[in-house]
Symmetry: C3
Subunit: 298 residues, 3 copies
């Protein structure tokens, strides 16, 4: 077995960029998963735990949970700051800043649950929305990660949203700006890029992407690793609905307020407010099935 080990060790020496063997520690995927799950407990009290939490026990339980969260968050935030320091900041103060924003974040998430319940005939009550809607979970994790992103923390927010992406198929970059009453239904395949801006009361269905043009050349970055060149992802106004699998491309593309985008649309230019944009059924070619050499032709 010795030579196999040696070959691998040589490969570790030769292939840079996919090893992380020296220098500071990286945030741990497993620790971030556990942290994010516990943050969801704090956001939705009584929904996730195995045992029933009584009103009498709530203050003590909440204090215990926060205490544990604070310690573990500080460790992962410290790792991010070791990799990419922020002048005048330390892990303890950033952790506190983040936790102090949680009540505001809960206020926003309440509007998201409300939007899901009001908008979806399949939701029998709000309990079902919190228990069973992947979009609600993904958006709740995004809203917390966005706070960390705004505080300048690297790695951790993206690892949080990727944890939710793996569970829900919904890929929300923590840099996006998203208004209140946001509802993603079904959600698998949704992608929202890091410079997208979304208004209030927007509804997206599965497979909708707010994405960048890919210009097939090497990206230029500043010292923090942020890409130069500004906004790459679309802007979506208030009260917009975008149906399943539509792809909106480009940083200067704007979908106006109250506009509806049909499903399966590829859109690389702006659409005015109060519009409907879709492919008409008559553009489809519809003809009888026929055989060619015994096979069906498509």
């Amino acid at each position: 077995m010795k030579s196999l080990v040696d070959e691998l060790l040589e490969s570790y020496a030769d292939c840079g960029g996919i090893n992380h063997l020296t220098g500071v520690n990286l945030p741990s995927k497993m620790a971030v998963a556990a942290l994010t799950q516990d943050l969801l407990h704090i956001i939705f009290p009584g929904f996730i735990s195995e045992h029933q939490v009584s009103m009498a026990d709530l203050p003590r339980e909440t204090a215990l949970q926060l205490d544990s969260l604070q310690k573990r968050l500080e460790i992962e935030i410290a790792k991010s700051l070791d990799m990419l320091p922020i002048a005048g900041q330390n892990a303890g103060s950033v952790t506190l800043d983040f936790l102090r924003k949680l009540p505001d974040v809960r206020g926003l998430i309440q509007t998201d649950v409300e939007a899901a319940y009001q908008g979806d005939p399949a939701a029998a009550n709000k309990e079902e929305v919190v228990l069973a809607y992947p979009g609600v979970e993904a958006v709740a994790v995004f809203r917390m990660a966005h706070v960390l992103y705004e505080l300048g923390i690297a790695f951790l927010p993206r690892m949080m949203t990727e944890w939710a992406h793996s569970r829900t198929g919904i890929d929300l970059h923590p840099g996006a700006e998203i208004g209140s009453h946001f509802f993603i239904d079904h959600g698998t395949g949704v992608v929202i890029g890091g410079t997208a801006k979304i208004g209030n009361r927007v509804r997206l269905y599965q497979g909708v992407g707010l994405v960048a043009r890919s210009l097939a050349k090497q990206v230029e970055r500043d010292e923090q690793g942020h890409a130069l060149g500004g906004k790459r992802h679309p802007t979506v106004g208030d009260d917009v609905t975008i149906y399943a699998n539509s792809t909106i491309v480009g940083g200067d593309t704007v979908i106006g307020d109250r506009t509806i985008i049909g499903g399966n649309v590829w859109l690389n230019r702006s659409i005015p407010p109060d519009s409907v944009a879709l492919y008409e059924a008559q553009q489809l070619s519809i003809h009888p099935r026929q055989r060619n050499n015994g096979d069906w032709v498509i």
Copy 2:
């Protein structure tokens, strides 16, 4: 730390609808996940357990598994009935009614495995279909959840199909009616709404949605939380094939028997039987790549 706890407790008092701190217990996500996994063991004996089950041990093993399942199912069903009672029903009798349907459910699932094996050249044998096809797992969980849905149980069936959704990217509402020999290939992004009707021998590819029109107004519901207004999702006939990423919208949309729908279609009207409906390649704009200010233009 005290003030942080107080702020959160105030938020729990202020933000209704995303707490569940009083009243009856909700079904537990973790318990439902374990239950659904164990139900799959019962459906596919010998496929999932770590150790080999011999024919001699099978009766004893099956009895032990059923006994454990029955007790745990009854607990979760009781929670659903506490939230939304059904006149004349108790958790014990509903649990038995459900378990007695499992042999019939296995008969249907066998037709699904058969359809995957007969229809997919990538399947080398039926063992591979059961071991590795996410569509088979998602449909098996759906068929069990549908039985609970028909028995009137809230929460639990949707939590079961959402467990499968998280694992497979396939979102099947337990209310849908789906015929035999149903095959979802690859599957990520598939969505089938709760009032959809699907015939026998239907094949869907990844990203296909049978979804509702979204009317952007507040939903009206009855006392059980069910939406008023009837069928919102399409009807699909026998022997239909729908290719990847197509979205079929609306409760009065009907795809006729033996029809083929191409991929990436947005369809909000009916298609007759024995048809092919698709976008022709000549509708694409195809031109040489060109540069504009050094960037590729799309």
Copy 3:
């Protein structure tokens, strides 16, 4: 409870094809999941483990990991060979052949990480790419599974890529041939069929499928279970970019070198090199929103 058990046992006797109660053992899903996770540790040393690995400890840690991996891999490979033997091969020699290829596989994966970093403005550094990009994980698992597939091993490679599919929404059949510097961004819903061929420096976005025509008749297979009839999935040249949700169909479809395919395209014929193929925005029907009987019409 007795009669319930008896009914299930009768169902096991009646419904063949979804039981596995006799004969040889199948590979275990749980064992394959743990193995694949541990292989990723070996590929990306220092990225996944909870504790920091020092350069001094690396040889000893690597030797221990390889020793454990070798034993467990041999067990699962032996199960595959029991089901579908290969003349002149035993599990021990196949396991060694596979492990000896890992340094080469790492070399290829390094090009994939490089392509993600160079091509995606959202990536701040290569550490973020390895820690948070699901496409990198799915392609790394695919590259290892492809080695096992080439060695003729059944079940195991597909179970490895399906483990990654469940985590990432990216479904890469281990039989596909994929060049260097391969980048799948976001990735949910991507499907690449087992006879697809992909060149170097190709970039795919979420929801892109390289898939087969479905001919709605029974598949013919050889003794090993492989479908007769040859190549069923497309060929993609070097330096091609395919935007989100596009579906490319058929074994004789070729996308030429340096060509760009827009999003949401359904394509069942070849596109020449150095082209752009997309739907123009003017093909969309864009009109003011209007109401019909109080509902918005789409």
